[in-house]
């Protein structure tokens, strides 16, 4: 059965893991050609449902099993009375195994098969059956030109298994990729469909397990989990006789001159996400504004680290970095935090100072870099981070023994033990200032309420992305503070205060 987005399974696989799954299905008795037929039927159902009146299909077929799927979809579409043309990129005689059988089926059904050239016009719905999950290096000619031809056609495009040119492991575009309106993927979800540049090219994603036996799927190795409302970690419900001391005391440190708003956003977010008590250590100039905006918080005007020492004895969680700056003031406060044996969230300038190796991160903290900060921490370029986000996040977790939230489209959460969670929700309207400050405060509040760092990071990222999705519907001009009441509401929906 086709799945809508909410019905996608949780497990995400590498291309190699999906190949292993495929092999295990075949070993368990389902011939590869039968799987190919099922894939074709699933794709055809999706096409016919999405574009019921199109009546015309152009299939671009490559050389691999992806092409085999394409030839069989062509057969089904022609049987249903659509006008069908397969444009073969390269020589169909080079097809092997099941793909060759599929080609033979299309030939025996008298499907029109022509070699693709730059002059081939595309018509109707375009089915991308060019390149599958085996692609690793950059897309070569003539595939690159065929992909470009699809993209400039302006026609509706569906991709078989993965848009051609998208890396199944990393979500990187390998030079050029098909921009699909719909992708029908099989057997196991590929990690690369959910992070990096995937959101720009995948379109609507449908999944079909090709009737794989659940026991085969359950036993298979996977790379990551998708964060969904169904599998979120949650803080415990609150006992009726709870008091504020049970839900932690978050101290937020930051807000150098000119950056006071950042730490206030974090503090407000922490307060509104259920922290028992909230303290803010910021520049004295910001105290009045902070108290006016958040009278619930205790606000300490701080000119040096010494003034923090007493407070560090009393609090349970630190959030350090929003608006911290990289000058002496920020460095001094950060070094005080770095020597406190408390669960901590490091964000923004705390990470820039960490990259300069001016301080070291205590163990078991959560860091929340965006790709640029991650690049500085790893001593590489932002492009290198984005080229393999999962690897970058794992490397950071290992380097700092920390839970890492790698922000950006398809946010990743990694743990030093190797776990990886992916949040593929969000909204382009979230590309605005202050969003990270809200996330840091939220994370601090969840840690203060007793969640484990990895769990807290997963829940925080999901809440933040879903709040952003809700507010993003109102379009550009999203303000970071708009998220805070929505996060509160979503947190209550997912983890009610009282059971």
């Amino acid at each position: 059965m086709p799945h809508t987005k909410d019905e996608l399974p949780d497990a995400l696989y590498s291309a190699a893991q999906v190949r292993a799954l495929d092999a295990s299905l075949i070993a368990a008795g389902t011939p590869g050609f039968e799987l190919m037929q099922r894939a074709a039927r699933a794709t055809w159902r999706a096409l016919a449902r999405q574009w019921p009146t199109a009546n015309e299909l152009s299939v671009l077929a490559g050389h691999g099993n992806n092409a085999g799927d394409g030839y069989l979809v062509a057969v089904l579409a022609q049987r249903a009375g659509w006008r069908v043309r397969v444009l073969a990129v390269g020589d169909p005689q080079r097809l092997q195994g099941d793909a060759a059988l599929a080609h033979a089926e299309a030939v025996s059904e008298k499907v029109l098969i022509e070699p693709w050239t730059a002059q081939s016009g595309l018509r109707g719905i375009v089915l991308d059956a060019l390149l599958g999950t085996g692609l690793s290096g950059d897309v070569r000619e003539p595939y690159a030109s065929a992909i470009t031809a699809i993209n400039v056609s302006g026609l509706p495009v569906a991709a078989v298994d993965i848009p051609s040119g998208l890396c199944a492991d990393t979500g990187r575009i390998l030079g050029v990729a098909v921009q699909a309106d719909l992708t029908v993927t099989f057997i196991g979800l590929k990690l690369g469909l959910f992070t990096g540049e995937a959101a720009d090219v995948v379109g609507e994603l449908l999944f079909n397990d090709l009737h794989a036996a659940p026991r085969l799927i359950e036993g298979a190795a996977f790379t990551a989990r998708r964060l969904t409302a169904a599998n979120l970690p949650r803080p415990a419900a609150r006992a009726p006789a709870s008091h504020k001391g049970k839900f932690g005391h978050v101290l937020l440190i930051g807000g150098d001159r000119g950056l006071g708003g950042a730490i206030l956003l974090s503090a407000q977010s922490a307060l509104r996400s259920g922290a028992g008590m909230v303290s803010v250590a910021t520049r004295s100039e910001h105290v009045a504004a902070a108290l006016a905006r958040i009278p619930e918080a205790m606000v300490l005007g701080t000119s040096s680290a010494n003034q923090l020492m007493d407070l560090l004895q009393k609090v349970s969680v630190l959030v350090v970095g929003p608006g911290l700056g990289q000058a002496g003031w920020g460095r001094s406060l950060l070094s005080a935090a770095a020597n406190a044996a408390l669960p901590q969230v490091w964000d923004a300038d705390a990470l820039n100072l960490l990259a300069e190796e001016r301080v070291s991160l205590p163990r078991d903290c959560v860091i929340t870099p965006h790709p640029g900060e991650a690049a500085r921490l790893l001593g590489m370029s932002t492009a290198q981070v984005q080229a393999d986000r999962p690897a970058a996040a794992h490397a950071l977790s290992k380097k700092y023994s920390a839970v890492v939230v790698l922000k950006g489209a398809g946010s990743l959460v990694t743990c030093p033990d190797g776990r990886l969670a992916v949040c593929h929700q969000g909204h382009p309207a979230m590309a605005t200032a202050g969003l990270g400050d809200v996330l840091a405060g939220l994370l601090g509040a969840l840690l203060a309420q007793g969640m484990e760092p990895f769990d807290a990071a997963c829940l925080a990222v999901w809440l933040h992305a879903n709040a952003g999705e809700q507010q993003g519907k109102f379009g550009r001009g999203l303000a970071a503070s708009d998220l805070i009441p929505v996060i509160r509401q979503l947190l209550e929906e997912q983890a009610p205060c009282l059971k």
Binding site: Q37, A40, W44, R45, A48, P52, V75, R79, A80, G81
Partner: protein
């Protein structure tokens, strides 16, 4: 609605019976073929299609779900819905077109397409009996009744 039950001893008898259905229906109507895997639904279908005059292979339409035949003026469609995942898929086959013009439509596993198929003229249910097969033929509508009666008469 009427019902006839008959006994067919072997595969040859099944094929011959198919040829009689071909003769009686003259290549029109909607026939459901029910019975478990291996009961001979495809053998019966082959008998019917060959009985209409088709020479050459009658292959099981497992992937495409439907195999069309054009035999002179006669149009016949052989469906095998065993692998239908969702009855909605029949819509994507353009199934309505098949039932126009009163072509002969043979449908194996019709229950998989429940809700998307019209009422049949005949429903033939095949089950094991001794070393052969028992066929229960159920008719709906006047044409089906007439065919059923003719089949019963010939079987006496």
């Amino acid at each position: 609605m009427s019902e006839v039950t008959l006994y067919l001893a072997d595969e040859q008898a099944m094929s011959d019976f198919g040829a009689r259905i071909a003769r009686i229906t003259q290549g029109h109507g909607l026939i459901f073929l029910e019975g478990n895997l291996g009961m001979g639904k495809t053998t019966l279908s082959r008998g019917i299609i060959r009985g209409l005059g088709h020479v050459g292979a009658v292959k099981s339409p497992t992937f495409t779900l439907v195999e069309p035949y054009e035999i002179g003026d006669i149009r016949a469609f052989h469906f095998d819905l065993y692998r239908l995942v969702d009855p909605e898929e029949l819509e994507f086959l353009g199934i309505r077109d098949y039932f126009e013009d009163d072509a002969l439509c043979l449908i194996e596993w019709p229950d998989k397409g429940a809700g998307f198929l019209p009422k049949p003229d005949l429903t033939i249910t095949i089950s094991p009996q001794d070393s052969g097969r028992s066929l229960k033929i159920l008719s709906q509508g006047s044409r089906g009744e007439a065919w059923c009666a003719a089949l019963a008469l010939e079987s006496k």
